[in-house]
């Protein structure tokens, strides 16, 4: 990507000039300030222009999504099921959707096949791009359905934990699934979550949080008595 220098009466103006030149918003530019510039006295004496060096940030996501789509379509060519791959860039990650006939073949038991496809596409594309690109492979909204059922599971388990005051453990889960559990219970002050175990046996443990009555108030008391 070409790096260019820009000038302006103020820093803002210099940045604006850079944005106009590259037709990009400021967020997509890497900006290095060479000189902040000063308006001098009354804008006459000793006025210096602001100078910046701007480089458009690489937006490899579009290229990656195109490539990921090709790779996935190539893999699915060998599968005797009619499929169409749709690609889009969604929240800083490449989202690939397989439109198919609705058989569970592409999903597999608990998403095993879908995860394998996702892992392989990720590996191949990341290797070609020379950096990790987050790629999600989905079909028939499986990912959002799974997220829903895992969130529900998390809430059920947390209710049990609150009643029994004892920690509970989920079954073995992969990183994405564990993440959903953690996020589902993040806001809940009465339980805390932690991952335990190694590799494929890693599980989420949900612990009850002991209600220390007004921990902060005891600190406040200590302060006032001191």
């Amino acid at each position: 990507m070409p790096t260019q220098e820009f000038e302006g009466k103020s820093l803002e103006e210099a940045i604006q000039n850079a944005c106009d030149a590259f037709h990009l918003p400021q967020e997509q530019l890497d900006i290095e300030i060479l000189s902040k510039g000063s308006s001098g006295i009354f804008g006459i004496v000793g006025a210096r222009k602001a100078r910046i060096r701007a480089t458009p940030k690489e937006t490899p996501l579009d290229a990656a999504s195109q490539r990921a789509k090709e790779v996935l379509a190539e893999i699915l060519k060998y599968v005797d099921v009619p499929t169409v791959v749709e690609a889009e860039v969604r929240e800083e990650c490449v989202y690939l959707n397989i439109v198919s006939n609705g058989s569970g073949l592409l999903i597999g038991k608990r998403g095993k096949t879908l995860n394998a496809l996702q892992y392989l596409v990720n590996k191949i594309v990341s290797r070609e791009m020379g950096k990790n690109v987050p790629i999600v492979v989905d079909t028939e909204n499986y990912r959002s359905k799974r997220e829903g059922s895992l969130t529900e599971l998390a809430l059920q388990l947390s209710e049990k934990v609150k009643k029994s005051r004892r920690p509970l453990t989920t079954g073995p889960m992969n990183a994405q699934d564990r993440r959903i559990i953690h996020l589902a219970l993040k806001e809940d002050q009465d339980v805390r979550t932690k991952s335990k175990g190694e590799g494929t046996m890693r599980r989420v443990v949900i612990y009850p949080v002991k209600k220390s009555k007004g921990h902060s108030s005891s600190v406040a008391e200590a302060k006032t008595s001191a």
Binding site: I75, Y78, D80, L105, L106, A116, L117, Y119, L120, I124
Partner: protein, 76 residues
């Protein structure tokens, strides 16, 4: 099935020319034997065998779509 595994493996190794695949077909089951350059073994196996498992899973899925079974072995 051979072509699928070949595509996947060649896309992830440093020496695609050293990728060798032998296929044996018996009734409805396909037996594949894969060998790659010694340097590439790690790439193909992956951490805890994650990569080779994923390749197997996808190969089995593709085979299942043709009402076949597929076994993939990595020779080292």
């Amino acid at each position: 099935m051979k072509a699928l595994v070949e595509y996947l493996v060649k896309a992830m190794v440093d020496h695609p020319d050293k990728v060798l695949l032998a296929q044996r077909t018996q009734d409805q089951s396909i037996h594949l034997e894969l060998s790659v350059a010694p340097d590439d073994m790690g790439q193909v196996i992956g951490r805890n065998g994650k990569t080779i498992h994923a390749v197997r899973t996808v190969a089995q899925m593709a085979a299942a779509s043709k009402d076949c079974k597929c076994r993939l072995e990595l020779l080292g």
